[in-house]
Amino acid sequence: MGVRRKAMNWAETIVESLKKWNTSLIAYVPDISIHQVTSLIDNDPYFHLVSATREEEAIGIAAGAYAVGRNAAVFMQSSGFGNSINAIASMCIPYRMPIPMFINLRGGPGEFNIAQVPMGRSTRPILDLLGLVHFTLDDDYKMDKIVDGAMKLCYANRQPVAICLTQLLHGGKLA
């Protein structure tokens, strides 16, 4: 009798894709809504999870890893994306550094905090202004293909790619 594989949840899907693309250093600033995925990473010896004090620092640490030949990604919240813009604009883009950025996108349906709306709503327009590719995941439909394709595009194009994870996907903190 064949064993049916249990479908992966969104967090496991991201971890699988990171491994497929040999992306083993993860720099992050903690966020409760994507804690599910960063805790999987933290408990998996394949990865080195590095805590940064601020998101631009996380970009710097990931960039350093890439510079010596190790693929690296960052995890943060949309407010933290605001903290990291100059690192992306003045470093990742001109050097052509492919850094996958997983961003918990605030300010959408279910947002409870007025202070999270402006940066959450402007994250994707800012990515557009920088000329960076981004994908938004509201549910796990075709998620494995989208995350995998985003990683492939990131390394082919040698520029950061953003994968925006919304509350509708991760069911994170609502109030």
Partner: protein, 185 residues
């Protein structure tokens, strides 16, 4: 101690080890002191020199040297806390401390007004630290840092003798040369 002489000394001892340089005169002087594939020059990302070096140190067994600056590091003091948390044995941070924002008009920086970066590093659990004021002492401490486990954090009080011509601003070439030197091994 002149920063350029100190940079030449660092290069004499560094061998083939990777060196990351803070933006502006530190990058220019490293280029003029001796351009090599393993120099990682920076151009715009103020504050991230030692964060880059931390990411490198966590991803290669080789000893990584960061040539940071007081003004830049003050912009990202959290970098020191992250180095203290990760404790990379193969990281040597040197802070060229001229106690001013040189390029923006020589305004005094916080290290001219009471901030002691060596004490900040010690408070962040970095135990191998020094503050040096002459080239001979810097050479001694740097050679020890290359031989002994770190992380190391060395504040070098320096002066600058005018600015050298701007080095080629080629970030994509910097990354290509630098990264390839690791992939080939």
């Amino acid at each position: 101690m002149l920063r350029f002489e100190a940079t030449q000394m660092i290069l004499r001892h560094a061998g083939d080890r990777p060196i990351v340089a803070n933006l502006g005169p530190t990058t220019d002087e490293l280029w003029h002191a001796g351009h090599r594939d393993r120099n990682f020059y920076t151009y715009g990302n103020m504050g991230l020199c030692s964060s880059l070096a931390l990411g490198m140190a966590l991803s290669t067994p080789e000893k990584v040297v960061s040539l940071d600056g007081d003004g830049s590091l003050l912009m990202n003091l959290g970098a020191i806390a992250s180095i203290g948390r990760e404790q990379p044995k193969n990281l040597v941070v040197i802070v060229w401390d001229n106690q001013q924002w040189g390029q923006t008009g020589h305004q005094p920086s916080h290290t001219a007004c009471g901030t002691d970066l060596e004490q900040v590093a010690r408070s962040c659990s970095i135990s191998h630290t020094a503050t040096v004021r002459d080239l001979e002492t810097l050479e001694q401490v740097f050679c020890q840092a290359l031989e002994e486990d770190g992380p190391w954090f060395i504040v070098a009080k320096i002066e600058e003798a005018g600015y050298m011509p701007v080095s080629p601003i080629e970030p994509e070439m910097t990354l290509y040369r630098f990264r390839n030197s690791f992939l080939k091994k």
